[in-house]
Each structure stands twice: as C-alpha cells, then as structure tokens.
C-alpha cells in the first residue's frame, strides 16, 4: 500500500475547458446522429439526390467563406483578450457577430426563395433533412452569436479564458457547417 500524496489534477486544463469539451462531445453526437441518418437514407434510396439541385450553391459557398472568416476573427478576439487589448477584443468580437448575422441573413434568403419555389419541409425526405439539419445548425449559430454578444457588452474585459471557450464553441458550429455544406449542396 502506498501512501504518497500526488497532485490529483491534470496541469494546464481548466474546469471550463473540460466542461465545454464534454458538452461539445454530446453536441457532436446530435449532429452525428442526424448526419448518419441522412447518409444511410441517401445510400439506401436513389432518386432524391436530384432535389439538391434546387439549392443555391453560390449562396451556400459564400456562407461557408463567411463562417470560416468568423472563425478566424474569433481566434483574433482570444488573442486580443490575452493581450488585455479591450478595443481589439471588441472589434474582433463585433466582426464575429457580424459574420454570424451575415450567415443567418443569407440562410434566410435561401429559405425564403426555396419556400417560394414550393419546397417546404413537407416536400419530401430530402427537404425534411435539409431544413432540419440547417435549421438546427442555424439555431446553434444563433446561440454562438448570443454568447459573443454577452462578451461584447461585458463591462470589463472578460478573462481570456471565457473568450477561448466561446471560441471553441464557435469553431464547433463552423465545423458542423463544413460537413453540412458538401452533404446537402454538393452530393
């Protein structure tokens, strides 16, 4: 029997990070479940791939670029927060928020044109998946925006730690889109 006293915690890992990672793991499983269902359906039944030609690939590509850029700005925001540079932090958080809003705006345009063209969530299995997957993703974008808005209006410069965690989440939302884009628009 040993009676040594070793340090228990793992150095360099904060509670916040561990928590967010576990949270993201469960989020990944939500989108993973959806994406896996989509793929199985897609492989299992031919014919409805044609529906995806009604989507606007250009707008979606622009959206992809916007989201990727916003991932960049959120990294910059973290860097600024670590430097203690409040102005730069606000600037980059603001840009990230704008990116998110831009994404949602374009998504809204897409939705309206599609619905105008008669493609609603009830128009068949492809459209069910399309609206559910992008809709759930858009809700996550909205959540990410809300988090960044809180940081933006935070009275004092928040601990960089929190900005980092917010950024982690934002990257996750970004990565999900990287999967959705080819699956829905390009396949």
């Amino acid at each position: 029997m040993s009676t040594s006293v070793e340090a228990p915690a793992i150095p360099g890992i904060s509670a916040g990070k561990v928590g967010v990672w576990w949270f993201l793991a469960s989020e990944i499983m939500i989108f993973g479940g959806l994406i896996a269902s989509f793929i199985v359906f897609r492989l299992g039944s031919a014919g409805w791939g044609a529906s995806s030609t009604h989507l606007n690939v250009t707008l979606a590509a622009i959206n992809t670029v916007i989201l990727l850029t916003s991932s960049l700005t959120v990294v910059q925001a973290f860097a600024a927060a670590e430097r203690g540079d409040a102005t730069a932090l606000r600037l980059f958080l603001g840009l990230t928020i704008l990116g998110g809003l831009g994404f949602l705006g374009i998504k809204a345009i897409e939705y309206t044109t599609e619905i105008r063209a008669g493609f609603t969530p009830a128009s068949g299995i492809f459209w069910s998946f399309y609206y559910t997957m992008t809709g759930l993703h858009a809700l996550h974008v909205l959540g990410g925006i809300a988090v960044n808005v809180i940081f933006f209006f935070g009275r004092r410069v928040r601990t960089p730690h929190r900005v980092e965690l917010g950024g982690l989440y934002w990257h996750f939302v970004d990565v999900v889109w990287i999967f959705l884009f080819p699956l829905l628009y390009l396949s």
């Binding site: 029997m1 040993s2 009676t3 040594s4 006293v5 070793e6 340090a7 228990p8 915690a9 793992i10 890992i13 904060s14 509670a15 916040g16 561990v18 928590g19 576990w22 949270f23 793991a25 469960s26 989020e27 990944i28 499983m29 939500i30 989108f31 993973g32 479940g33 959806l34 896996a36 269902s37 199985v40 359906f41 299992g44 039944s45 409805w48 609603t120 969530p121 009830a122 068949g124 299995i125 492809f126 459209w127 069910s128 998946f129 609206y131 559910t132 759930l136």
Partner: protein, 571 residues
C-alpha cells in the same frame, strides 16, 4: 492550483451562505447536497405516480373485467397510456433522478474531497430544468386526449400521427418533457465529469477514486455520448408531428425503423446509465460490510469501461425481428452475448469480495446482496433475449418484461436502497432503524419475486406485452392465475413500502443522531460531519493518502483505514 477557479467555495463563502435564508437554502440552492435532496424528493414523488400506474395496470391484468377500485373501468386506450407513462416515469423520472441526480450530486464532491461541483450554478439549473420537465410531464396527464400512449419507446408511425393513438398534445408534451429531462442530465453529466476530472483533493489520484464515483462518471459519459442521436430523432419526430416533415413516413420516403435505431442506440447505453450508479453503490457497500478490500479494483474499473464501450454496439438486439436486414442480427447477437463477459467479471468480483471477509448483515448489506442475486437473474435472462433465434420467440412477450424488471428494478430498488440506507446517516444526520430496514428488505425481496418471477412463465407461454386484457387470448386463459399471483405480489410489495416510509419519518424525527462514521468506512464522505455543512470541509481540504478499500490491513490495529488518515494510522 485550478481549485481556485471554477466554483470552488472558500471558508468565507460558507459563512456568507449560511445567512442565505429559506429560499437560498432550500429552493434556489447551489449546494450539491441540497440539489441531491431536491432530486431525491422529485424522484420519490414520481415513484408514487409510477407505482400507482403499475398497481392499476396490474389490477387490470389480473381482473380485466372488473373496474379498478378508486379508478373505474380501464379501456384499452387508458391501459396503453398507463404502460407508456409507467415506463417513461420509472426510467426517466424515478431511476435517473434518484440514482444519478441524488446519489451523483451528493457523493461525487464528498467522495473526491472537494467543496462543491465544478459548476454549481449549472447544477442548480439542471435540477430546475428537471423540475420543469416534471411539470410538463405531469400536465400531460390532464390535456385533452390524455397522456402519451405509444409505449415508452414511442415507435412511429404510431407516435408520429395523432390519429393513430388519439393522443395529440399528450404526446407532444411527452417529447418536450423528455427533451427537458435530457437537457437536465446533460448539464448534470458535464458537471460530474468535470468535477471528477478537475476537482479531486490532494492525493486523490484516479486509482484512489471510490468505485461509485467511477460508475457515476462512466454512466455520465455513456449518457452524454449516446443521447445525441435520440435528441436528433426526437426533433425529427416532433417536426413530423407538427410541420409535416417525412422522416418516419414511408409514403414520402421516410422510414419508421430509423427511429428504432436512434432510440436504441441511446436506449441500450441508457439501461447501463441506470445500472452503473446502482452497481457503484453496491460496490461501495460490499467492502465496508465484509471488512475487506474490493476484489480487483482496477479490473472492475476496466470491466465497467469495457461494458460501457460495448453498449454502443449492441443496440439492434432490440430489433432482431423488427424487419431490419436479417443478416445484421447475428453480429449484434454476438456483441450482445459477449457483454455478459465484463458483467460476469463484476459479479464474480463482488462475490470474491466476500471470500474470507467478516460479513455484517446490516440493512445496506442486505440490499446489496439482494442486488447481486436479482441482477444475476435479470442478466441471465438477458442472454435468452440476446440470442437472435431465441429472441424470435421471447421478444415482445412478458419474458422480456420479467427480464427488465429483474435488471431495472433490482438496480433502482435493491441498488438504490443499498445506497439509501448506507448514506442516509450522512445525508440527514440520523440513523435509520435497523429492524424496520431489515423487515423492508425481506418483505420486498419476497414480494418482488412473487410479482415478477411468474412473469417469465407467462411470457414463455406466449403472453405478449402491452395488452389490456389477457383473457382475449385463448391460449392464455388457463394461465390467468399467474397474472393474479403477480398482482397480489404487487399489492403486497406496495404495502411493504409503508415500512420504509415509517422508518424514514420516524428516524428523521426521533432517530439516533448519526456519528461521523457510523459504518467505520474509509471513503472521504465519512470524514465530513453528518450531515456535512455547506462547503463540506473545514478551512482545509482533506488530503488523501491511500486507496478507498484498505480494510483489515494486517499491520494495522483497527480494521479500517480512512483515506485521509494514511501515515497517521498506518502503523
């Protein structure tokens, strides 16, 4: 160190909190122990509902042609609602809040030697989300059309269109309640895992963490990693019901089996989410009352993780005859039957722990032993289900009902009560009455078997699940006496619970005050006062010097060595 961050409470904060007043102390508390009690209260309240539904159901099954006293005639619509809500309530609103919510919250910070959860406010949000879920589920009984009645598994298309069951809002609220419940336990799970990873006391290495904490965090991880697909599936179901998407509707390219895959991908890990915390409690109780180290601590941790991993690749054993490609059945059958291997290890290790021990038959120990026996029974009948050809026959019969009551009920009841009688002194500062506890155990053990053992037989005789009137089947008429026996057993078992209620009430009012360490146990919670104050420890956190099960060390005088008293007591 990291302890300074993330919600660790200092001694001053404790003093401050003590002046919090009624609302801060009992209602909007962030104290893990109060949150545990809130979960316990909600869980026990739901037990009354779930038990009532079961009793009504059993009456109907035994005497289908007579009105249920105090309830009235039961039509098949009502019966389906009873089954559905009984299953839902027992699994999600009794088992989870008691075994994870109450035990997890109470034990994890105390046993790893910290002052609270890593995110105390998230923890409060978790219990309040659960309360909201409870409210929604409760309200669903009273909306027009009544509560959900598509089975606790909610298979579409039955659940996807109101006209198939006649239930509209009841089912929407059922989905909403589940979603909220999942959210609550997601928050809880993140908290448990983070706390156990980050906030362990000095010296509390991973391999000194008590077994119940291991089981709790494995359960939390299983839950976090398995619930996602079902959340996605529930979103799809809700959209199918409300805005007309076609995920489960074959006419427009959907597939009803998609739901079954998503549900059981979660559902099988979920039964272990319920099992593991109970198993953990039993694994704590056994060494204490046999005064011996747990047999093969590391191996058990390994077996638990293996079982958890395997539970992700067995889900289709609920679907052998569902119409999925029959070539998939055997691979799933093999993984399913192999899952008996880690559990065999754990069962054998529990028994080996008793070998050459000095066994005391206190109430917690009786319940723990009851768990070992009853769980073995339930696990073994799982093998019949797990063999694809045998399952062709037993699937969807009462044999399965018997199987899962032997597993689930033994987890919630025998495992749960092993823990409850064991930690009650720590939780409430009073000792429970031993004679009443023993009476509670023996009567329940007997009546539990009277209730559920014969259900194996009627299942083998061909009685299918979820029927309101067994007498409609000619083959079953000669076996109706079994239903009567089972029902009588149920009523006796329910009546037995009065002994428990009496015990708790009497002990809380007039029970003997609990000493700090009434069972002479090693783990850290027994180093804190009974009940522990807010913040758990005095100004300094405990320091851990040894593993949790150092009982009957040959060189020591006493037969136990608390984890925080290493060198001071080793010689």
């Amino acid at each position: 160190m990291n302890q300074a961050r993330a919600g660790t409470i200092t001694a001053e904060a404790v003093a401050h909190h003590a002046a919090g007043g009624f609302w801060r102390t009992y209602v909007f508390s962030t104290d893990h122990k109060m949150i545990a009690k809130q979960y316990l209260t909600l869980g026990l309240a739901w037990t009354l509902v779930g038990g009532l539904l079961a009793a009504v159901m059993r009456w109907q099954l035994a005497w289908p042609d007579t009105a249920v006293p105090g309830w009235g005639e039961i039509g098949p619509e009502v019966y389906n609602m009873l089954v559905t809500m009984h299953g839902t309530i027992m699994v999600f609103f009794v088992a989870m809040p008691i075994l994870l919510g109450a035990f997890g919250n109470f034990l994890i910070p105390l046993m790893i030697g910290t002052r609270d959860m890593a995110f105390p406010r998230l923890n409060m949000l978790s219990v309040w989300t659960f309360a909201l879920a409870s409210l929604v589920l409760f309200v669903s009984f009273f909306v027009p059309g009544g509560a959900a009645s598509a089975g606790w598994t909610g298979y579409p298309p039955l659940s996807a269109r109101p006209e198939y069951t006649g239930v509209n809002w009841g089912l929407n609220l059922w989905i909403l309640a589940q979603a909220l419940e999942f959210a609550a336990f997601l928050m809880g799970g993140v908290n448990y895992l983070t706390t156990a990873i980050i906030l362990r006391a000095p010296g509390m290495t991973f391999l000194r963490v008590p077994m119940v904490v291991w089981q709790q965090i494995t359960a939390a991880a299983l839950f976090l990693l398995s619930v996602g697909p079902l959340i996605a599936g529930a979103v799809m179901l809700l959209l199918d019901r409300t805005i007309g998407t076609a995920f489960y509707d074959p006419q427009v390219g959907g597939d009803p089996l998609l739901w079954q895959h998503l549900f059981w991908f979660f559902g099988h890990p979920e039964v272990y989410v319920v099992l593991l915390p109970a198993l953990g409690a039993v694994l704590e109780v056994l060494p204490v009352f046999s005064r011996k180290p747990l047999f093969g601590y590391r191996w058990i941790v390994g077996a638990t993780i293996v079982a958890g991993g395997l539970s992700f690749i067995v889900w289709a054993h609920h679907m052998f005859i569902s119409g999925m490609d029959p070539r998939l059945a055997m691979p799933f059958s093999i993984t399913t039957i192999l899952i008996s291997v880690p559990f065999a290890y754990i069962v054998f290790a529990m028994i080996a722990t008793l070998w050459r021990g000095s066994i005391r038959f206190a109430t917690p120990m009786l319940f723990a032993l009851g768990f070992v026996a009853m769980f073995t029974m339930g696990g073994l009948t799982g093998i019949f289900n797990g063999s694809a050809p045998a399952d062709i026959y037993v699937s969807r019969t009462y044999f399965v009902v018997a199987h899962f009551h032997y597993t689930l009920f033994s987890a919630v009841f025998f495992g749960g009560f092993a823990g409850f009688y064991f930690w009650f002194p720590k939780m409430f500062g009073r000792m429970l009455s031993e004679p009443l506890g023993k009476l509670h155990f023996w009567l329940t053990l007997v009546f539990f078997n009277v209730t559920f053992f014969p259900l194996h037989h009627i299942g083998l005789a061909g009685m299918v699940r979820r029927v309101a009137n067994p007498l409609q089947y000619e083959a079953l008429v000669p076996y109706q006496w079994i239903n009567v026996v089972s029902t009588v057993g149920t009523f006796c078992m329910v009546a037995t619970q009065l002994v428990f209620a009496l015990n708790v009430v009497w002990s809380l009012v007039a029970g003997r005050r609990a000493p700090t360490n009434p069972w002479e146990a090693n783990t850290l919670e027994w180093a804190a006062p009974s009940p522990p104050p807010h913040g758990n420890w005095g100004p300094a956190l405990p320091t851990v010097y040894c593993g949790p099960y150092e009982y009957s060390l040959p060189e020591a005088r006493e037969d136990y060595l608390p984890q925080n008293l290493g060198p001071a007591r080793a010689r």
